[in-house]
């Protein structure tokens, strides 16, 4: 019988090895699935397209970074709340509201040139996301209403609100009455940092935020506070940390960052507001955060890994006519294996031959 013995100290080796083990297991499972479903196609070339091509191809690689940026930003915000045990499941809604707020500012100043426009849009997006998340914070603090439910319900509301806005005030007046905004003018578009690609300044900002978050969690008092609130709520109260403050700040930070990501999407690769703005980044970012064990630098890598699964997934669909569900299956398995392998960090697995 297999037994788990807690380690005295977390295994340093396993912290690094367990993700590799998880990746290996995912790859093996993928292999088995491919052998099962592909008759005459070379499994190795499918593998190459899925996992390697997006890293080596000059068009796909910057696209990988474009896809990773919003996941990184939202994942970072969520990880802070998750550490404190605040479950903001509705970052998708805050992302949408941020996109609407930022986009609305850009459309209001349509064709107005100015260096101040982008910062103003970003600010509107952050505030929009924060305000939207603060509804859940308020209800949790004032009435102890569960934030999982509120943030989730408000996601549906945000998506419908976007639809109403695109049907009404934000609709492109010359757009044949389709529910889309105008295409943003150049001043309202994020600067491109890699010529000829869609890679925008938001990616740099995402990396900067990662390091700020890392530093914040390591050094700052609030970082301590949320860590303790999450792992030992009673101890946190004892130390005089304010539970309500943790709830509020966690939701404001994750909401604000999700809002910022929404603006980056609208003013970056999309270039306009459309009903396609919500694309599950808010939910996928939860996976990103957990793949990284909620660690800010880990999120840098996990967002790239998930982005790889999307970009590579699209390529195998195109090349080998595989269905899009393959991507979802892989993402699910990846997360299963990552979570499972992490047990090796805290526990030793021993084979116990004697009966209990």
């Amino acid at each position: 019988m297999i037994k788990l013995i807690p380690r005295v100290e977390n295994s340093k080796a396993m912290i690094l090895l367990s993700p590799l083990l998880a990746l290996t297991l995912t790859a093996l499972s993928a292999l088995i699935i491919f052998i099962f479903i592909l008759d005459d196609i070379k499994v190795s070339s499918v593998f190459f397209t899925l996992f390697v091509l997006p890293l080596t191809d000059s068009y796909l690689f910057p696209e990988l970074l474009v896809k990773a940026a919003p996941l990184m930003i939202i994942g970072l915000g969520l990880s802070i709340g998750f550490r404190a045990g605040i479950w903001n499941i509705g970052a998708e809604g805050q992302y949408v509201i941020g996109g609407i707020a930022g986009g609305a500012v850009g459309l209001y100043f349509y064709n107005v040139e100015g260096f101040w426009l982008l910062p103003l849009m970003a600010l509107a997006a952050i505030i929009g996301g924060m305000l939207y998340a603060s509804i859940a914070a308020f209800l949790k603090i004032r009435y102890q209403v569960n934030e999982i439910l509120v943030t989730l319900m408000l996601t549906y509301v945000a998506v419908l609100f976007l639809s109403a806005m695109l049907q009404g005030p934000l609709r492109n007046p010359a757009g044949f009455n389709f529910p889309e905004s105008r295409i943003f003018h150049d001043s309202a578009m994020l600067p491109i940092i890699w010529g000829g690609t869609r890679l925008h300044v938001g990616f740099i900002i995402a990396i900067i935020i990662s390091f700020v978050a890392w530093f914040g969690i390591k050094k700052h008092m609030f970082g301590m506070q949320i860590k303790i609130s999450g792992s030992a709520p009673r101890a946190a109260k004892f130390a005089g940390f304010n539970d309500n403050k943790t709830v509020l700040y966690s939701l404001l930070i994750s909401g604000g960052l999700a809002g910022l990501a929404g603006f980056f999407e609208a003013s970056g690769p999309a270039g306009q507001l459309t009903p396609g703005l919500p694309q599950f980044y808010g939910f996928t970012a939860i996976i990103v955060a957990f793949l990284a064990r909620l660690h800010p630098i880990g999120i840098l890598f996990s967002s790239l890994l998930i982005a790889l699964s999307y970009v590579g997934g699209e390529e195998v669909q195109i090349e080998y006519n595989l269905p899009s569900s393959i991507t979802q299956i892989f993402q699910g398995m990846l997360l299963f294996y990552f979570l499972a392998c992490d047990i090796l960090i805290k526990y030793k697995v021993v084979l116990n031959k004697t009966k209990n």
Binding site: F176, P179, E180, E314, I318, P323
Partner: protein, 360 residues
């Protein structure tokens, strides 16, 4: 110098590769790619495009290599998918409105690749647009519905208030009213193209409110199955949905993209492709009909057949004045028919006589 010789050999070999490549071009099959919004199994919009692809493949045989990709969301991801396809194909069809701006953006970067965007309005030198006059199909089913309803209530399950859907509602209503002055149309918006559960809920709600003939502008077969179950009538959407409603389906509007796809791909093969704006209907065979159900009275069937023949000869237009807008303001004068732009392509009003409020 050895370097010079080496580089000249290199040049030579490059040249010969290029030569080999160009000499093969005429024999090479055309590579055509299709971007789908939904799964091919939706039995609605995407299914109909996929049937068109199969038709074109059968017609052109070894002259074409088809690539399709399904479930591509109408967001910034689509630009990447379209780009990936543009890198490897000669012509790329993007089959949903939301791909319009991404398609145009990619087309600018790949001037040698041809693009065909369905249901949009942005033309470029290498971007064609194509769409079908589905409202002509609605005209025919409107006539049938007006005759077949006993409660004088037609239920209409609508997706999103975009011009194409509005055209369909207006056209169906006017046709129904022309044969049955007492007819009413009830519109329920489900704000989804594909949610079988919600479409069924909407169908049930409409039936409970007295509708005995259902029309839908959503993609699943759910409403058809409800109609069959409840013993009322409905019309197939985008494809023949007879299997789900052997008694319920009176006929269906079939989107037949096949010949268009075959033509456009053949044009690329022959080097005759040029950017074009296609808005084709019954006359051109892009809008077709499922077989009329035998449970329909012969005179209703004949009336419908006559409408189809008239449409196919261009003898009638579903929007022929006098028609007022819902608020009573005049739209078309006696005998007048609307131009494609702006009237048809930007339609954002109900015609007079529809009770439902225009969604805002």
């Amino acid at each position: 110098m050895s370097k010079g010789r080496f580089s000249s050999i290199l040049k030579l070999s490059v040249l010969s590769t290029v030569l080999a490549f160009t000499s093969n071009v005429s024999a090479d099959p055309v590579k055509a790619a299709f971007v789908y919004i939904g799964p091919t199994g939706d039995h609605g919009w995407t299914y109909a495009h996929d049937e068109g692809v199969k038709y074109a493949k059968e017609k052109l045989g070894d002259d074409v290599i088809m690539t399709t990709i399904e479930n591509v969301a109408e967001n910034s991801d689509s630009e990447r998918v379209i780009t990936s396809l543009a890198r490897k194909n000669d012509i790329v069809f993007t089959t949903s409105f939301g791909y319009m701006n991404p398609t145009v953006k990619v087309a600018k970067r790949y001037p040698d690749v041809k693009f065909e965007h369905a249901t949009g309005y942005m033309l470029e030198d290498n971007v064609s647009v194509y769409s079908a006059r589905f409202y002509e199909g609605r005209h025919v089913i409107g006539k049938i519905a007006g005759r077949m309803t006993e409660s004088n209530v037609i239920g209409y399950i609508a997706s999103f208030p975009i011009p194409e859907v509005i055209r369909g509602i207006n056209s169906a209503f006017l046709a129904a009213k022309s044969v049955n002055p007492d007819v009413q149309i009830k519109v329920v918006w489900v704000y989804s193209w594909y949610d079988p559960g919600k479409e069924a809920d909407a169908a049930n709600a409409l039936i409970a409110q007295g509708a005995d003939v259902l029309m839908q502008h959503t993609d699943s077969t759910a409403a058809m199955t409800v109609a069959e179950e409840k013993g009322i009538y409905a019309f197939g959407q985008a494809s023949n949905m007879r299997e789900w409603g052997p008694n319920a389906q009176l006929t269906g509007i079939i989107n037949d993209w096949g010949p268009y796809y075959a033509d456009r791909i053949a044009a690329v093969r022959d080097g005759t492709w040029s950017s074009s704006d296609t808005f084709a209907g019954v006359q051109q065979g892009m809008v077709k009909f499922a077989p009329m159900n035998n449970n329909m009275p012969t005179e209703v069937k004949n009336e419908a057949m006559k409408a189809i023949i008239d449409l196919s000869m261009g003898a009638i237009h579903p929007f022929t004045g006098p028609i007022n807008k819902q608020d009573g303001s005049p739209w078309l004068a006696e005998g007048e028919t609307p131009p494609n732009f702006p009237d048809l392509l930007t339609m954002d009003f109900y015609v007079e006589g529809i009770d439902s409020q225009y969604p805002n």
